[in-house]
Symmetry: C2
């Protein structure tokens, strides 16, 4: 089955030593913020093993830094699941909350959300910690990448609801934004206490490397999550798009998706090899070269870690639940909590 397909990733697997600490921290944080509110929700969340996902994609982060990255990771996954094309007007609610999620990093840190619900409160809390001590230039870059991801997320909802069938070209352009890799790579910087020098971050070679990495990860995710998305009736998957575009069998479409993925992985390696030449061309001092190289390491760790986690995780398990859930999400996170029992801590507590 597609989830069993593995790729030859030429980067070493690494893991943060604090994976268990972060897992314990984040379950408590999610429950405290009303982002997990039921036993079923907690059980499903734990089955994804996002603690491992964060620890292998951010192996150089530990302690409170890894806790924070896992909080971020987890509420973003939970928000991603809040859209379900079968629920009436759900895409309107997702789009409105997405616009609020885009706006939050542009308000003073810690300001309460204007649209009040568990995901917006969670994001205010995470953003205040994530942005602490960062430069305006990093905040501009992260927040813009986050905004493009959130906007694509809302767009996906409208497209699914409208039943639009994208061409391969349209899909690849869209998927690069919806996979969320650019802001995730940005998050590795405060998570390890560095920033990529601005002239390196702005260089076309860096953009090309990050785009190639985003494509490779998106294509692998699509292959690994194919069965989950087929069960959900979600046409936003590379294999599904290829099958329609090439009028071929599912097996042939999977083969073509694997070929496209391998080509993007080869491009990642080629661009990484060109980075040291760029440092020389820009006349970077030694300290800036280290920071630039840590930025490249973030790309390596994301590709390697995401691949290994996806193959092992229960999130994309091919068996699926015995009874498919009525809706994609277990708890509704887009409406205010009110006085929900079990929510022990609000934003201002």
């Amino acid at each position: 089955v597609p989830q069993d397909i593995t790729f030859d990733i030429p980067f070493a697997p690494l893991i943060s030593p604090d994976v268990d600490r972060a897992r314990a921290h984040t379950v408590a944080w999610l429950c405290g913020h009303g982002l997990l509110r039921s036993e079923a929700g907690v059980a499903e969340y734990l089955s994804w093993d996002l603690a491992t996902a964060a620890a292998v994609t951010f192996p150089y982060s530990a302690g409170a830094d890894l806790d924070l990255l896992l909080d971020f990771f987890s509420f973003a996954f939970l928000f991603d699941d809040q859209f379900d094309p079968a629920v009436a007007d759900r895409q309107e609610a997702v789009a409105a909350v997405s616009r609020e999620m885009i706006t939050i990093p542009f308000r003073p840190a810690g300001m309460p959300p204007q649209i009040d619900c568990p995901v917006t409160r969670g994001w205010v809390d995470v953003w205040a910690r994530l942005s602490d001590g960062t430069s305006t230039t990093w905040r501009n870059r992260f927040s813009a990448n986050w905004a493009r991801f959130m906007a694509a997320h809302a767009e996906e909802g409208y497209a699914v609801a409208g039943g639009a069938a994208p061409t391969l070209e349209e899909y690849v352009e869209f998927r690069r934004r919806s996979v969320g890799i650019h802001h995730s790579l940005d998050a590795a910087e405060p998570g390890r206490g560095f920033e990529i020098p601005p002239q390196v971050a702005a260089h076309p070679l860096t953009s090309a490397l990050r785009d190639a990495a985003a494509d490779a990860i998106a294509f692998m995710n699509d292959i690994h999550s194919l069965e989950r998305e087929e069960r959900r009736g979600d046409p936003h998957n590379l294999v599904t798009v290829l099958r329609r575009e090439l009028r071929c069998s599912r097996a042939s479409a999977v083969e073509e998706a694997v070929r496209l993925t391998e080509a993007r992985l080869a491009e990642v390696v080629r661009l990484m090899d060109a980075m040291p030449g760029l440092y020389g061309e820009l006349g970077l001092p030694a300290r800036d070269r280290v920071a630039a190289e840590w930025g490249v390491e973030a790309v390596r760790n994301w590709i390697r870690g995401n691949h290994d986690w996806a193959v092992a995780s229960g999130r994309y398990a091919s068996a699926g639940p015995v009874c498919a859930p009525a809706v994609a999400y277990t708890d509704d996170l887009l409406t205010p909590l009110g006085r929900v029992p079990g929510v022990v801590r609000g934003l201002t507590a």
Copy 2:
């Protein structure tokens, strides 16, 4: 009266040769997009003489570049006037549209707005032209500054509606975001066909210069628009804040505001003098030094041009309309146009 107060600005006044061309272009553009829909609206708009404002703040832009900057300038002013604390639920409408305005630059250029109204359609059109040919780094910087401005705008609405009285410190921090200078300075770059080198844009000296310029311009605007805002009952004005904070007369508060403004202008000059040293420190090649210096010129032109326009413009005229209008805005720009007569061109026409 406060509008007659002038400041000693040590920068030469300049004006684009295409001010009349731009004026004609933009009135047609505003009418075509439903942003001006009544004779009263057109008359009031023309009385502000925004064409001169754009031509003196962006003197190195001409032709289609100046047309575009004036389109941008004009719809932003019209949107600014859409908030009126006296209209029920108006701040909710302003805040929702502000979040859409923040999101638009993060969607693919030209994508129709999700909240459909004249200001969002106008912004989609302007953004597609303004961002054409720019780097991702410039788009991140501009869009983040634009978002902070829009978020502050919505915040102002809530604060006014809630009757909150900010301290001087809170007000100065808020006003730096709400004055909209950072994104206006960014807009000078595509308007003149250059981009500030990323390591210069990211440097703390550049941030300090732009913050000082934003403060100086905000304080001058507050002094010049004091009577207009007193008429509207808007407490967001440096003089009003000083008057309350210092428990002093209006005249003394104006004097103190002038003193604060002169201090910020002196800081602008001091920081500008330090810029050439930065170019050497960063080892900038000659071409990058020119681009950096054009960035400094944008600050000079904004301070000089904004001052001269504010003193001359009808927007802050102390006489005011014989009959104060019932609401702050002439045409409602926050609801869909539908089939409004006189709207000759929509987004997709």
